[in-house]
Symmetry: C2
Subunit: 482 residues, 2 copies
């Protein structure tokens, strides 16, 4: 909620200001009947008053019949100035809000989404490059250049801005993928690609095979569309394709999702051999693959094995890439490469969904690629990640040696920490949050056995990373000794 309006009414007594504020919210329909108003504590903090002043205001509003305190539900709007005159005719938004097709995010994911925009927390969770790594000077230059050269822009072609697709075609060749601009679709990030696939290629009841654990378990993109997720176990080389067992009914209705480079959340890099095995299994089962390769360019030690897509001679693979993890998620630019009929179909759905991605973002993205600045920036990012990885592994060795086990990832953002003592992970999450540290637990990604945390070394400052790991070690020690 926002309190900006409160500022205009400073001269009235505080309790009247609170009443005015709440009446306005109720009166203009922003807080409809049935909605919960902010807690007494929140109101007291905002209006810089004692809780007793808030209570005075709420009592008056209760006497007016506008609000009502309810056991276990807080204070709820029960009337507005209009319904006090007439009968209650407000639509039951609660019913609408709870009945859509798309499932709400899991509560813990929603909490994390909210907490992630809290700048005061130490974000050990956030899968995003630190602002410290953001290439501000070059971004300014490129935006300036784009703004000088821009022409009138309207809706783009369904597949996206052609010069960007041409630049991507050239970029993809550098990682071994032959793709003409006509087989590339620009999307607003890889997540949108998954959304389009779920809407455009799969029937309700289809099966999505995927790595387990997987980032995909933290989303509802496929489940909301009525698909079933079937997790496949992984070893150090990636997911194990011999665990794919398809029923006859699944043939032609299933898809395999995988994250072969620096897998989210485990950081595993799939070996070349495993890539071949997966493609072979996919061909044998006529099972198309979504190769989500958004972390590929974030290698630290060695260039990763070539994408599965490069071995794909039958159009089995839909390949996903993005600028979100390497440059900035704020651009909302990703891409999908696949057989033309599939790309045509999904571009039609993209047009039905949002009429294409931002022209500005597409032009800025094209300029990053064409100017060569993107490749230079990648070198810089790899360097920064290497330094951060070293820093974090030292901190882990120092403060977590007896508390956790981990492998050092060869790239990407994540270290998959296995907590050794048998402690309550929920309690760990809460205690860490109380200390100002935000964690992503393994359970979010459907890690069923063992206690895991996905630790990101990409986002927090070096100082915060060190401090966070230190505190985490202390909390684990404390919980273990109970």
């Amino acid at each position: 909620m926002s309190f900006t309006e409160g500022k205009t009414v400073r001269k009235r007594p505080k309790y009247l200001q609170i009443i005015d504020y709440i009446k306005e919210k109720i009166g203009n329909g922003e807080w409809p009947i049935g909605s919960k108003i902010p807690s007494q504590r929140t109101l007291a903090k905002h209006f810089e008053v004692n809780r007793s002043t808030v209570i005075t205001a709420l009592e008056e509003l209760t006497a007016d019949g506008l609000i009502e305190g309810r056991m276990g539900k807080g204070t709820v709007v029960i009337n507005n100035t209009w319904t006090l005159l007439a009968k209650n005719s407000s639509p039951d938004w609660d019913q609408y809000v709870n009945s859509g097709i798309q499932q709400p995010s899991r509560r813990i994911v929603q909490e994390i989404n909210t907490s992630e925009s809290n700048p005061e927390l130490i974000q050990l969770s956030k899968g995003e490059l630190s602002n410290e790594i953001f290439p501000l000077a070059v971004m300014k230059d490129i935006m300036g250049k784009v703004s000088q050269n821009i022409e009138a822009f309207g809706y783009e072609e369904p597949k996206g801005y052609l010069p960007l697709r041409e630049a991507l075609s050239g970029y993809l060749r550098t990682i071994g993928i032959q793709a003409s601009p006509s087989s590339i679709l620009i999307v607003s990030g890889a997540l949108q690609a998954l959304q389009l696939i779920s809407m455009g290629l799969l029937q309700r009841g289809s099966t999505v095979f995927l790595d387990q654990p997987s980032y995909l378990y933290s989303l509802h993109v496929f489940q909301s569309a009525g698909m079933n997720l079937t997790g496949l176990p992984m070893d150090k080389e990636g997911l194990l394709p011999n665990h794919i067992h398809m029923t006859k009914g699944e043939r032609g209705r299933a898809i395999l999702y995988t994250n072969p480079c620096f897998h989210n959340p485990t950081g595993i890099l799939m070996s070349e051999r495993r890539r071949e095995e997966i493609l072979t299994a996919s061909e044998k089962n006529q099972l198309p693959i979504i190769e989500d390769d958004i972390y590929r360019e974030l290698w630290i030690d060695n260039i990763p094995p070539a994408p599965i897509k490069t071995m794909d001679k039958n159009g089995h693979v839909l390949y996903l890439g993005s600028l979100s993890k390497t440059l900035s998620p704020g651009l909302r630019i990703g891409w999908m490469v696949g057989p033309e009929p599939v790309i045509e179909r999904l571009s039609d759905i993209k047009m039905q969904t949002d009429y294409g991605s931002s022209s500005l973002s597409q032009r800025v993205a094209a300029e990053w690629l064409i100017s060569g600045e993107y490749q230079q920036h990648l070198d810089y990012v790899r360097h920064q990640l290497k330094m951060r990885r070293r820093h974090v592994t030292i901190a882990l060795e120092t403060y977590m040696k007896n508390a956790a086990q981990w492998s050092i990832p060869e790239g990407g953002f994540f270290i998959w920490l296995k907590i050794i003592p048998s402690i309550s992970m929920k309690l760990l999450y809460k205690k860490a949050l109380a200390k100002g540290i935000l964690l992503n637990l393994g359970s979010i990604y459907a890690q069923e056995k063992g206690n895991y945390i996905r630790l990101s070394y990409a986002y927090a400052s070096l100082e915060d990373l060190q401090k966070g790991i230190y505190e985490l070690g202390l909390i684990i020690g404390e919980l273990a000794s109970r």
Copy 2:
């Protein structure tokens, strides 16, 4: 399809170039097994050869077993270099492409989408401001300013960039709507708002009441999610709310969609009285309203009646606005205003769909509003539309007097032409296209009775508008005299 690769192989004989080109497309999976290759005519045109050269190439590829001519289906890929070695193991993408949840756009709408990016056609159809009206100089200035002041940007808050929501809160006050930033959600255009509503608030089998004809009939946003559209008749003051008949089962599961200002496609402006009647009917039936008001600022003669949202004291109305029709669709910036619980729910779904709109676009949009340039630009657009409307009505009077009837709209982009002679509209569409003129027929919008065309005076040049109307008059005359 794109032919850019063809350019690199210019020295080989033409028929070998064609073979190389097709083999590459098949070999890398862009043209998977089962897909149709371009027509002989298209290939001949691209490679600048006679059709006989193309036939020679295709015969060789047929002999190789890669392609096959099929009756009524053109030439189809039946093998690739890989499957010639092994058995055919390609996924049956056709089956996937035809089986997703989201319905494909209607064929005529897909055709129009494609034809709309053909710059050689006279676009009497396009619902978009002409490039001539695009404020290029100011856009460059604003982008330059934004690029100078920008800071590192990542994922935005779920509801969108706060300074943009604050600026919109101020803008909305100018049209009578009280909305704090917390009850505003930034979307990538109004279409995305509808998509979010369909996914987030409605169950399968819900009813969407709407104007008939309506732009919404040309989309599949609600139908694909399993909702039923129930059209309501309109008169000159807008849709007739006394035709809303809800069954008991529909209560709490239905919604009303309307386009009160300069309705698409008819151009009708809803009267103030009608707005009140609709709100009353909605309250009586507990039927929430989607007020799609994206054409409001395009008034030519008088400021339109206040939005229904301004009279809404119960949070009945979700209000939609956008920069697409007034400034540029390429920004992909729209907004939705509604009760906070609804906005929270839809912002969660937006995060699940695409993680928010482009940071660049949001910053540029905010700067347009904050600097005051947006209001100045609107004045200019109104002036231009007034001039265009005059120009077009003169052309209609001159060339179409006996061919059609129309009302002069008080704003927006569209004139709803009723064709007088009883002719085949499909034939009219085809004959116009053969003359290089693209039309939108009334049937796209579910206009059942009478022969209608939605004529846009916003996009084509004045010269093309005149020429297009002149030709249209001739074709109608010719068809009528058969």
